[in-house]
């Protein structure tokens, strides 16, 4: 493409880069540089801290499990909303966005009250949910709910019915059609939705800290460890944990992006 035909290229490029640099890259640089000021033994010690490792393990396990549940039910929801259009679908569709719009703290205290041993749901369950890793899992499911639905929905809406009809004419059974004709179209969206839900889950703070009770080595999450370091004015410690968390998130997302085969297809993070 030659000279841009529309006005404002240089202006918008300049503004965008300036904003990006000041608001995103500068703070990130501050984080990285601070972490770099630590000596390798310090970094190693921080990375091997049993408390951090326990927290990371919990985050990853709960995060993956929650993203998986959201993958399943999110797809189901999107399918039901798009294909079956039940009564009140508009309202339900709007509701899906609630975890996104609701402040995480509100979600946190609400979920805690419900799943507490004497809460609305907790009293019916033979096992404890609040104040256990299971509680963390529940909170992450809530938080990640919209992501898969919202990435799958547009794909389903644009799906050409002719392909399914052609397969049906050729005699394929419904499960087979879903597997061979519909699923391939959905794959990129499923990957993206899963990645988004997972990314959100790994960094989640507000909705988790209430229901988890933050029991050391049991129900702590990495963001909480960062905050507790900060409360003790240990900026370096907090930074190290933050960088480890960032690296982990980026690595995971990158891995997901590569897994989703397709030359040069970027899984948009947002």
């Amino acid at each position: 493409m030659g000279r841009p035909r529309l006005p404002g290229f240089r202006l918008s490029l300049g503004l965008t880069l300036a904003w990006l640099g000041l608001l995103v890259l500068l703070p990130l640089a501050a984080l990285v540089l601070k972490a770099a000021s630590a000596s390798p033994p310090q970094v190693w010690a921080a990375a091997r801290s049993p408390r951090l490792l326990a927290a990371l393990r919990l985050s990853l396990l709960a995060g993956f499990a929650a993203a998986a549940v959201n993958l399943l039910f999110g797809t189901l929801l999107a399918w039901v909303l798009v294909r079956y259009r039940p009564a009140g679908a508009g309202l339900l569709d709007a509701l899906v966005d609630l975890p996104f719009a609701l402040p995480t703290a509100v979600a946190g205290i609400a979920l805690t009250r419900i799943y507490m041993p004497d809460g609305w749901v907790g009293r019916w369950l033979p096992f404890k949910v609040a104040f256990t890793p299971l509680g963390v899992f529940v909170a992450l499911v809530f938080i990640g709910l919209p992501f898969v639905v919202r990435t799958v929905q547009p794909v389903l809406l644009e799906l050409p019915p002719e392909e399914e009809e052609a397969a049906a004419c050729l005699g394929a059974s419904r499960p087979r059609i879903l597997l061979r004709v519909v699923l391939p179209h959905l794959r990129p969206a499923l990957f993206t939705g899963f990645a988004l839900a997972l990314a959100r889950g790994l960094g989640e703070y507000g909705s988790v800290i209430f229901i988890s009770a933050n029991l050391p080595f049991r129900t702590e999450i990495p963001p909480l460890l960062i905050v507790s370091r900060l409360e003790q004015y240990d900026y370096l410690g907090a930074t190290l944990i933050a960088c480890i968390l960032l690296v982990l998130s980026f690595a995971l997302l990158l891995a997901l992006q590569l897994l989703q085969r397709g030359p040069g297809r970027a899984v948009r993070l947002g």
């Binding site: 006005p7 719009a101 703290a105 009250r113």
Partner: protein, 281 residues
């Protein structure tokens, strides 16, 4: 001739719908209902009294100010970025899009930490700011910045596809008719994309109002001064003032519901506008 397998059998459809509704109800509706139930657990008078607390008002005001600041900043950025990404092709475009999406992959707490490292007393600009008695960390500017970071991509991401779907022909037509670049932008491009902008702004507002983790780190939790409403909810809850906490939470929930409704409405308008952009003129 056998019935073509065009959709699932009725029994399956009903079962799946019921399952989906149960999931939605269990995970969404129940917590939402719980907020209001808990808020009113001690009766209306306690509820209203909690809302009339001066600290609650201060928290609400701070939340609104921070949200306004973040939305204004991100809208001006979003307009520029969306114009760039939607109307032009250039090397590095994809990389730029990924960079703009970066805040989504960063935990809010980490975001707050990053700003503390720049503006905090021990941060890069710390001494410089203290000398000039400028407060950013533990004050409104810091909260605004942290919130802006967390909601950075929204306006750009939702506006860019609308700009892109417009193509460039209307702008070219405007140019041929003698309009300057700015006239073209304000009279032709932006009005044509107003629903994409509205949608992005709504998303940005919703997320900004509800932001917790980043603000928690940057604000210092100073009651009545630097507590946003979500932080205030946390403070009340930790002090076992449950009814009051849920009362404030109910306020936030109502705003969330309003947001969700607005989002659905604006989203429909945006989809319709993009549809007409893409199809025959």
């Amino acid at each position: 001739m056998a019935e073509l397998a065009r959709t699932e059998p009725r029994a399956v459809r009903v079962a799946l719908t019921a399952l989906a509704l149960a999931f939605l109800g269990g995970f969404l509706v129940v917590p939402l209902a719980a907020v209001f139930a808990e808020a009113l657990a001690q009766g209306w008078r306690v509820y209203l009294a909690a809302l009339r607390e001066p600290e609650a008002w201060a928290a609400l005001r701070l939340t609104l100010e921070a949200t306004l600041g973040a939305v204004l900043l991100n809208t001006s950025f979003g307009l520029a970025a969306a114009w760039l990404l939607g109307k032009f092709q250039f090397p590095g475009r994809r990389l730029l899009a990924v960079l703009i999406d970066l805040p989504f992959a960063v935990s809010p707490v980490v975001a707050g930490l990053m700003f503390m490292l720049v503006f905090g007393a021990q941060g890069w600009l710390g001494p410089w700011l203290i000398d000039r008695d400028i407060r950013i960390a533990f004050a409104l500017p810091g909260i605004v910045l942290a919130t802006t970071f967390v909601t950075f991509p929204f306006v750009a991401r939702e506006l860019a596809p609308v700009f892109q779907a417009q193509g460039g022909e209307q702008e070219e037509a405007a140019r041929m008719l003698g309009a300057s670049g700015w006239q073209t932008f304000w009279r032709v491009s932006l009005p044509g994309a107003r629903w994409g902008l509205a949608y992005g702004v709504i998303l940005c507002t919703a997320r900004a109002m509800g932001e917790f983790g980043a603000v928690s780190v940057v604000s210092g939790h100073i009651r009545g001064l630097t507590n946003t409403l979500p932080l205030h909810v946390e403070t009340l809850y930790n002090e076992y003032q449950f009814a009051a906490a849920f009362a404030c939470a109910s306020l936030l929930s109502l705003s969330a519901l309003a947001t969700v409704g607005l989002k659905a409405w604006a989203g429909r308008r945006r989809a319709a506008a993009m549809q007409t952009s893409r199809s025959a003129p």
